[in-house]
């Protein structure tokens, strides 16, 4: 097939998984996480919130359908630090594929390993906790450490960017927003302003604010977001922005006993029989005891009961931990976005 070059993933605790390289030559370090999604590796790998992570896919057959045109993905490049899989298909087959996964990774200078028992790796991370690790491809030296404090700056825009036009303006605080989130807002006929992550929200005019999660600790955002909440404009947060909101209003967070990493995470809208299957990628959650009195739990995880969404009892200030995939799962998640836009429109009247 192609010449095999060996590579290894070494975890912080010294555990080594060996395999063969199919990405860039070189070495890299990062936070090692697994993901149980069976499909959608181009989307996952291009997700800005995955930056700094070495991701191991438990589904063993990867590369089958190559990589779609990059403009269809979640960002313009591979965001993960490294990729670990069991079986890689260099020969891909799909009408919409432009190139192989291997070529994409190499072009983005991202190392990748196949031939690893990723089930065993996931079990190890599950039982011993997620930890950092490094991929070293045969012949490469030790990698430099990832500076997590810089991740937000790396994924955010530097200057405000305006998309589309419409009767209301939705601001996105870009701490790593996915293209699909922007597209789903635009589809609703609104004007979108994508703001750099450090933008002072006080100084910005918008009808609604959309928050996305962060690849690392969101504490630096808390004060800025707290002031935004006081503005009483509708706020909707997705993909972990519930944590940002909670921190902004004095809540606390705690590490989950087991991270949620996959596309099959069940949540229940609190107090209803409305259950949703969601895509999640997090290892922290809000401590329910720490929520201020005027806040309530909106969604909870059906498996471990952890908080998957919160809302303020008054006004439209709410956020979910999961990714309400607007493109992939419109049947389930459209209402969440629709309600947000409606609130923004109502607020403007």
């Amino acid at each position: 097939m192609f010449n095999k070059k060996s590579a290894a993933l070494t975890l912080e605790d010294g555990t080594i998984f060996t395999g063969f390289s199919f990405g860039a030559d070189g070495s890299v370090s990062g936070e090692v996480v697994f993901n149980t999604a069976m499909i959608g590796y181009p989307e996952l790998l291009s997700d800005p919130l995955m930056r700094g992570h070495i991701v191991a896919l438990t589904y063993p057959l990867i590369g089958n359908y190559g990589v779609p045109p990059v403009e269809e993905l979640e960002s313009g490049k591979v965001q993960v630090a490294g990729l670990v899989v069991t079986d890689y298909s260099e020969e891909f087959s799909h009408w919409n594929a432009g190139e192989s996964l291997s070529k994409w990774l190499k072009d983005n200078n991202v190392p990748a390993i196949y031939g690893v028992d990723t089930r065993a790796l996931a079990q190890h991370l599950r039982d011993h906790g997620e930890m950092s690790g490094k991929i070293i491809v045969e012949g490469a030296g030790n990698p430099r450490e990832i500076d997590f404090s810089k991740l937000m700056a790396e994924v955010s825009v530097n200057e405000p960017v305006i998309y589309g036009d419409g009767d209301v303006t939705i601001a996105i605080l870009d701490t790593g927003v996915q293209n699909s989130v922007i597209r789903s807002l635009l589809r609703r006929g609104v004007r979108v302003v994508r703001l750099p992550w450090h933008t002072d929200l006080d100084e910005n005019q918008y009808d609604g604010l959309l928050l996305v999660g962060t690849a690392d600790d969101p504490t630096p955002l808390a004060e800025n977001v707290r002031r935004a909440i006081e503005k009483d404009k509708p706020i909707f947060g997705v993909r972990g922005a519930d944590i940002t909101l909670a921190l902004a209003v004095g809540g606390k967070i705690k590490k989950l006993e087991r991270s949620h990493r996959g596309t099959n995470q069940p949540v229940l809208e609190t107090g209803t029989n409305h259950a949703l299957i969601t895509s999640q990628n997090h290892s922290w959650a809000i401590d329910p005891q720490s929520l201020p009195a005027d806040w309530e739990v909106w969604f909870e995880n059906l498996n471990d009961g952890s908080i998957e969404g919160i809302r303020r009892k008054t006004g439209f200030v709410k956020a979910v931990q999961f990714n309400p995939e607007p493109t992939l799962r419109p049947e389930e998640f459209s209402p969440l976005y629709d309600n947000f836009i409606d609130a923004a429109r109502d607020g403007k009247k």
Binding site: E43, T86, T263, N303, R329, P330
Partner: protein, 1077 residues
């Protein structure tokens, strides 16, 4: 809460089963029905099951509260409802049979009359999905695309629509399953033939534009009463559209779809299930353009299906169990994931492996059948292989189907004259032609052009060829690099394949070479790992016992206690003609008994249609191969107390000697004695020693010897190889040229086991005895008789227990012979013997030291579980000898075969020494006639209304049939007959109108009468059992099948049926539950 109210209201529920196993409706419904009954039981709801399939798990003790072995037809179900007065009924767990019956009961107002609530999916939703026209309109309302098609009710309309759509077109009758009566037509002439036939199955047919070459994708979706939906599994067909999904290799999860495509189809599936209003489970089949995101919905099944059983096994998610709970009113989020036991059932399983389903065909068993695959299902079983890459799963699967193949490569070469044609026109052997094509230098693109199989799959198969070539460069195992050997194992190569490619042995017996490979790789540390199927890809800890074996791993998911408290049961493998649900019943009962004895049961089996592969049924389930290599891999790790080889039919039985040679303890009768029974020569010598009579026989040494033997004994003669079940390559020959022909055929089947030629008695009674012995002493036995004379394969015969027409003297002698054989072979465990009785002579035909097809039947009729007893004996427990005797029974059990000829185009529906039935039923009656009627109606016969066509074969069978013909005349039936039969009847005082033979231009003609369905029952007795059957008789039989007119081809069975329905009317048939006998 509403929920509490509803649950309190439902106290008793009727569940409809699917009846006998047939092509398109097989073991999967035993599995789904059993799961549903388990779910109801958990809720404390009383259950009443109607299913005449006596060999199923669901009709066993302690599953349903009440079992009726009655036909699943509106008539009988109504009678049961009237008697039981249930609150609710479940229609979704018994396949199309149950669904159709339920719709009929609903439409006729029976359900309303008795105030029976349909639980789960409302009947209207079922009708909406089943009626093609409504279905299309319904999906139009939500903007979901369906196949451009039109429902028509006449052949002329079909032609008009086809002309509008453009050929090629596909035709499907509405309200059928397994694609019965459907097919492709390339022009109007083909359409004419197809449409006429389709209308015999359904008053409405669908004419569609063919989408040959598109991808075929399936989704399994669930919805609860709160409108919560999940998709449990998606699957992709390896074979593109054009081949029925039951005939396709199917892979789960999908492999070649992008995230947007998969998400789109998922969203559509959810939109559909919501709009149709299903509560429970449904299956959505799509066609997807391989060049865009264009799709159409092919069909929606508003019930549990073969695909849902596969999805359950592929993911570990118990679809049927959860569907039953949803039908009772639960929400998905209110139920637990029974695999992890801690997480919720409201989630979508994620796999960290890939499964491959491969159909099992038995087309070689049918005379004249077309081997080409198309839109109608012909396969009789299936396997599911699990691997952590596609090559591993595929090669495992190709071994599992049990067609003598060793994987994708290293097989006996299949020679074809035109490889392009073999690739382009799919047959049951096409997958192996792909290997030939690669070896012949075909590129992936070229094969894609010919097959339209996605290039991704082809590239993977090419990997196997590449490895095969690399292995072939070496001649010594020591020279093969470890990395290559490991990669070969990771890509699914068996030790056999490696032995063949590297060691290149020239003799056929490769046991030594295979053992060398095993020893070598173990020495090199190349051994497999055990992984769990846990539904969550390791994200949560799961204590599941659902396991498979893979080389793509570095660690085991389980520990091996090795405490001498585990017992392995080898299951039956793929269902096939001659080995199906009966052996699953035996395997499951053995596993249950092991557990009851305080030991741990370990099941090995790979058939997704079974209950034995439900991980609830044993302490550990290895969903893996039943090859010597794999069983040894597992016993090496588990080190069990012993292995039971006598429950799963011939596959485990054949492993006995080799397992023992590898120091694996075999429980029960020793391997050496199993061999003494299987090996003709050894068995006969023993019979001679014991003075037991047997038909004269001769082992094939030289042809001259055989010809001499034929001259001494005279024709007809029976030819067969040793060690076979269901008569593979078994034939009766009536002259020397046939003898030559079939000898060659039989020699090809098994080189290891010699061919035997046996004297063949005609007009002899056939008797079976099923028994359990301990240290050579018979503990319990059941003697049954066949309705048909010897010569009809025992699996195709109608069996009566206790016997009604047998001399006490005969029974005494049979018992005596069984005792002597049990002693001679030192039997411990189950055994079965087939004997022939003519006048006062009793001859032993064969003896199997394992459970037989009839064990569940006799166990349930006698109400003594033979398998439980046998298992306890094999475990060395002390047992009390049951004092129950068949003489005390004041009722009769009859086991009748189910045939699936209607699906096997062109096959001659005639019975012989090769088994042809796909399933069976067993019914109880107060007398012989009642039991005959119930069982015959259960396999699809109806009491004829008026017209009966007789064509009764040779003089002997004409005489046999005379009294039945008289009875028909006395009951006022109108008789039609072919010329000779009419003359014979007239000479004996029976009037029959003459119908001309099919090839005659004269009218009235038999063929016209059958086609116009003026005949209610056809009795056509073949003149002899040889291959040279008169074309006319074939045409009559085949037309009867094609035009859905009941057909009987055996004089003894025809007489029994006729006398029964002339004696009893429909109201004489009693509605009695099993426990009331």
């Amino acid at each position: 809460m509403l929920l509490a109210m509803e649950k309190n209201k439902i106290k008793k529920v009727v569940l409809l089963g699917s009846g006998a196993l047939k092509i398109g409706e097989a073991g999967e419904f035993d599995y789904s029905g059993s799961q549903a009954l388990k779910a109801l039981k958990e809720e404390g709801i009383a259950t009443v099951l109607i299913n005449p399939n006596i060999a199923t798990i669901q009709t066993s003790e302690n599953i349903a509260d009440r079992v009726y072995f009655l036909p699943v037809t509106p008539e009988y179900v109504e009678k049961v409802i009237a008697r039981e007065r249930p609150d609710g009924i479940l229609l979704a767990f018994g396949g199309q049979t149950a669904l159709n019956c339920g719709v009929a009961l609903f439409k006729s107002g029976i359900l309303e009359k008795y105030d029976v609530q349909v639980l789960g999916t409302p009947v209207q939703s079922i009708i909406d999905t089943e009626d093609r026209d409504i279905f299309v309109k319904k999906l139009d309302q939500i903007g979901v695309k369906t196949i451009k098609s039109k429902a028509v009710t006449t052949v002329e309309d079909a032609k008009t629509v086809a002309a509008e759509l453009g050929y090629p077109i596909i035709i499907r009758p509405a309200f059928t399953l397994g694609g019965l009566g459907s097919g492709f037509a390339n022009d109007e002439a083909e359409l004419d033939v197809l449409a006429r036939k389709a209308f015999t199955y359904s008053p409405q047919i669908l004419v569609e534009k063919s989408l040959k070459g598109w991808k075929e994708i399936e989704y399994e979706v669930m919805r609860d009463r709160y409108d919560n939906c999940i998709t449990v599994c998606n699957m992709e067909n390896f074979d593109p559209l054009g081949i029925h999904t039951g005939e396709s290799i199917v892979v789960a999860p999908v492999q070649t779809l992008s995230a947007t495509e998969a998400a789109k189809l998922r969203a559509l599936a959810i939109r559909i299930i919501r709009h149709v209003g299903i509560v429970g489970e449904c299956n959505v089949q799509y066609a997807l353009d391989p060049q865009s995101e264009e799709y159409v919905v092919i069909e929606v099944n508003a019930r549990l299906s073969r695909s849902s059983a596969l999805a359950s096994k592929a993911t570990g998610y118990p679809l049927a169990f959860v569907a039953a709970k949803l039908a009772l009113g639960y929400g998905l989020h209110e139920l637990k994931n029974s695999v992890t036991k801690t997480t919720t059932a409201c989630f979508e399983p994620t796999l960290d492996y890939v499964v491959c389903k491969i159909p099992r065909w038995d087309l070689g068993k049918f005379k004249g059948v077309s081997r080409e695959l198309g839109s109608s299902m012909k396969s009789v079983g299936e396997v599911m292989a699990i691997g952590r890459n596609f090559e591993e799963a595929m090669q495992k699967g190709l071994r599992m189907i049990g067609q003598g193949m060793h994987g994708f490569v290293a097989n006996k070469e299949l020679i074809v004259s035109d490889l392009d044609e073999a690739l382009n026109r799919p047959t049951d052997k096409r997958v192996f032609q792909l290997a030939n094509a690669f070896k012949a230098g075909y590129s992936v693109d070229r094969i894609f052009e010919l097959t339209k199989i996605d290039r991704w799959f082809l590239h993977k198969l090419q990997n196997i060829i590449r490895l095969d070539n690399q292995l072939g460069r070496f001649d010594k195992l020591e020279d093969v690099p470890d990395a290559l050997l490991l990669e070969a194992k990771q890509r699914g190569f068996s030790d056999f394949q490696i032995a063949r490619e590297v060691l290149k042995p020239c003799d056929t017996d490769m046991e030594r070479e295979v053992a060398q490979v095993r020893a070598h790789r173990k020495a090199r540390g190349i051994t497999p790992f055990i992984k769990r199927i846990d539904t969550v890809a390791g994200e949560y800890p799961a204590d599941t016992n659902y396991l498979y074996v893979t080389y793509n791993g570095i660690s085991h998911d389980v520990d091996f206690p090795r405490d001498d408290r585990s017992v392995v049961v080898l299951g039956s493998g793929a269902y096939r003609i001659g080995s199906s649900v009966e052996f699953d019943w035996c395997s499951v009962n053995a596993a249950n008994t092991i557990r009851k004895s305080g030991l741990r049961s370990i099941m090995i089996n790979y058939n997704p249609e079974t209950v034995s592969t439900d991980y609830d049924m044993s302490d550990r389930l290895y969903f893996d191969e039943l090859t010597l290599e794999r069983v040894l891999d597992i016993t090496d790790l588990e080190v069990p107390r012993g292995v039971i080889v006598s429950m799963g039919g011939q596959i485990p039985n054949n492993l006995a000697l080799r397992l023992e040679a590898n120091h694996v303890p075999i429980l029960g009768t020793s391997a050496a004695n199993i061999d003494r029974a299987e090996d003709r020569h050894k068995f006969s010598s023993m019979c001679d020693e014991l003075g037991i009579d047997q038909p004269r026989w001769k082992e094939l040494s030289s042809l001259e010897d055989i010809y001499q033997f034929a001259e001494d004994v005279g024709f007809p003669l029976l030819i067969r190889p040793s060690y076979v079940l269901s008569g593979a390559a078994m034939n009766v020959v009536s002259n020397r040229s046939e003898l030559e022909h079939f000898l060659t055929l039989a020699t090809n089947v098994s080189k290891q086991h010699p061919v035997v030629v046996t004297e063949y008695l005609t007009h002899a009674k056939e008797i079976e005895i099923d028994a359990v012995a301990r240290d050579g002493e018979v503990l319990i036995y059941a003697i049954s008789e066949h309705v048909e004379y010897a010569g009809v394969h025992s699996g195709d015969a109608t069996m009566v227990f206790p016997p009604q027409k047998m001399y006490v003297e005969t029974m005494r002698r049979v018992k005596k012979i069984a005792r002597e054989v049990a002693k001679g072979l030192e039997i411990t465990g189950p055994f079965n013997m087939q004997l022939m009785a003519k006048n006062n002579d009793i001859k032993v035909i064969e003896c199997n030291l394992r459970a037989s097809r009839s064990f569940p039947f006799v166990s349930k009729v006698l109400k003594v579980n033979f398998i439980e007893l046998a298992t306890r004996v094999m475990l060395g427990e002390s047992v009390e000898i049951p004092h129950k005797s068949a003489f005390e029974l004041d009722y009769v059990g009859i086991k009748a075969p189910q045939f699936s000829f209607s699906r096997l185009q062109k096959a001659d529906p005639v019975l012989g020494v090769e088994m042809a039935s796909t399933g069976e039923v067993g019914c109880l009656g107060d007398d012989y006639s009642e039991a005959i009627l119930k069982s015959m109606i259960s396999v699809g016969y109806a009491i004829p209304k008026k017209n009966i066509l007789l064509s009764t074969g040779d003089a002997h069978s004409k005489t046999d049939m005379l009294s039945a013909a008289k009875a028909l005349q006395d009951r006022g039936y109108t008789l039609f007959a072919t010329k000779g039969t009419a003359d014979f009847l007239a000479a004996n005082g029976v009037t029959a109108e003459v119908l001309q033979w099919p090839d005659s231009p004269e009218k009235p003609n038999t063929l016209d009468f059958i086609k116009e369905r003026k005949i209610d029952l056809v009795i056509n007795i073949p003149k002899n059992l040889s291959a040279a059957e008169l074309n006319n008789d074939y045409t009559i039989r085949r037309s009867a099948i094609d035009f859905n007119v009941p057909l009987i081809t055996n004089p003894r069975l025809a007489s029994a049926f006729i006398h029964a329905f002339c004696k009893l009317g429909p109201d004489d048939i009693k509605i009695k539950a099993w426990d009331e006998y």
